[in-house]
Amino acid sequence: MVLTYILLFVLLVLLQVTVLNDISLFGYATPFLYIYFILRLPSLMSANWVMSIAFLMGLIVDIFSNTPGMNALAATTIAFVRKPVLALVLPRSDEAVSIVPSISSLGLGHFIGYSFLMVILFCVLIFVIEAFTFFSPLTLILRFSSSAVFTFLLVLAADCLKPGKK
């Protein structure tokens, strides 16, 4: 269990910094698939752990892409709100059981709601932070919306790919 998570962590970070960071579809859309890891952590894991892991992960991605603080801040923030978002999406009765959020455990509709909210929030944060160094509303909105959609689709695709799923 822990080993799979470590493997997934390394895999997602490497994929992010060597391939996905270089993608800018139509000149705007960059996918941030690595946050899939934060989405995947067990639902009852303590918020402190989730935040620490997210901060570490964001910082590593930042170091590779020369943007210290940007991914770290955004990833920590979505980790911080993960529990409330899950509670919002999840049916009341399921709250006490620890599950690994995925399409098979949450159901397609709930998982879409959960990942969509998280991805949107993450992309808003990333591009608001970017706006402090470079501000151009139109470019920003295009970058934000296209990247959010791209990331969201990749998260869904990754969840379908995930081996070991029933």
Binding site: G58, N66, G69, A72, F134
Partner: protein, 282 residues
């Protein structure tokens, strides 16, 4: 006291979030990839190694085009060498002084060849990672060029890797001029298109036309005078009517950077030290 501890434990996730947020903010605001913070840049050893592997794979992409560019450049240089040789032959024996001058100009600059192992063009601030570092003689504030033109300026170096501020980064301002005139402006990227940058503060009385060549002015000692930057594609008046802003089509193709040369200018360290001293005296 007990209440306080209880309160802190109960709200530990808020507290932890605050700590991480403040840490991130400090990194965001303070980030300036000079020597002391090489760790937080892609010049750190681990990131460098990963990018070296990546560069080993992606380095093969686009070789055909790069080869074609090199052939073109080679042809142009051959013509230039032939012309210069002709001129040197004619001037031979003119005066000792001139020959001495010529020799010293050539011996002022040296090149170090490096490979681009990571590069971005789509971020608001773009950086390039190279596979050479301080062990190969690199240090910050060295100019980087490729076969087509200016690439950027070295910003941070570790033992084996270096981060270059790309010309596609608003933090970099480059002193440039229109070829054939002596007035200069500063070139800066506007964050929109990787093919264009803007040459600002060009005095209104300077004569230029679309298609004119923009070259480095040589005032900063980072780049020698006369390195190709791009061609004028458009121009407009700036806020106050006394200056023009020129839109420059960059000659460097940042989408497929591969092999670059780092310019080692022998007088640069001395010049920088002198300028710093002069500023300190004010």
């Amino acid at each position: 006291m007990r209440k306080l501890i209880y309160f802190l434990i109960r709200h530990s996730s808020w507290l932890l979030y605050m700590i991480y947020a403040v840490l991130s903010f400090v990194l965001l605001v303070k980030y300036n990839p000079y020597q002391q913070s090489v760790f937080f840049s892609s010049a750190n050893e681990v990131a460098g190694q990963v990018y070296a592997v990546k560069g080993g794979i992606t380095g093969y992409f686009g070789l055909r085009e790069i080869n074609r560019d090199l052939q073109k450049r080679n042809g142009a240089l051959e013509v230039e060498v032939a012309n210069l040789r002709e001129r040197v032959r004619r001037l031979e024996g003119d005066s000792l002084l001139e020959r001495h001058e010529r020799d010293s100009i050539f011996s002022n600059y040296n090149f170090i060849v490096a490979q681009v192992i990571n590069n971005s063009v789509s971020n608001p601030n773009n950086y390039i990672t190279l596979n050479k570092g301080s062990r190969d003689g690199l240090h910050s504030e060295m100019g980087v060029v490729d076969q087509n033109g200016i690439v950027g300026i070295v910003n941070a170096v570790s033992d084996n890797f270096a981060v270059v501020i790309s010309l596609l980064n608003p933090k970099l301002r480059l002193s440039c001029k229109v070829k054939g005139s002596s007035y200069f402006g500063s070139l800066v990227w506007d964050g929109k298109d990787a093919r264009y940058a803007v040459l600002e503060e060009m005095p209104r009385h300077v004569k230029f036309a679309k298609g004119d060549t923009i070259i480095t002015s040589g005032y900063s000692a980072v780049f020698p005078e006369g390195i190709m930057v791009g061609v004028i594609s458009d121009f407009s008046k700036q806020r106050n009517d006394n200056f023009y802003a020129l839109r420059v089509q960059l000659s460097t193709d940042f989408n497929r950077l591969n092999d670059v040369r780092i310019i080692e200018s022998k007088g640069q360290r001395e010049k920088n030290a002198l300028e710093r001293e002069a500023m300190g005296n004010e």
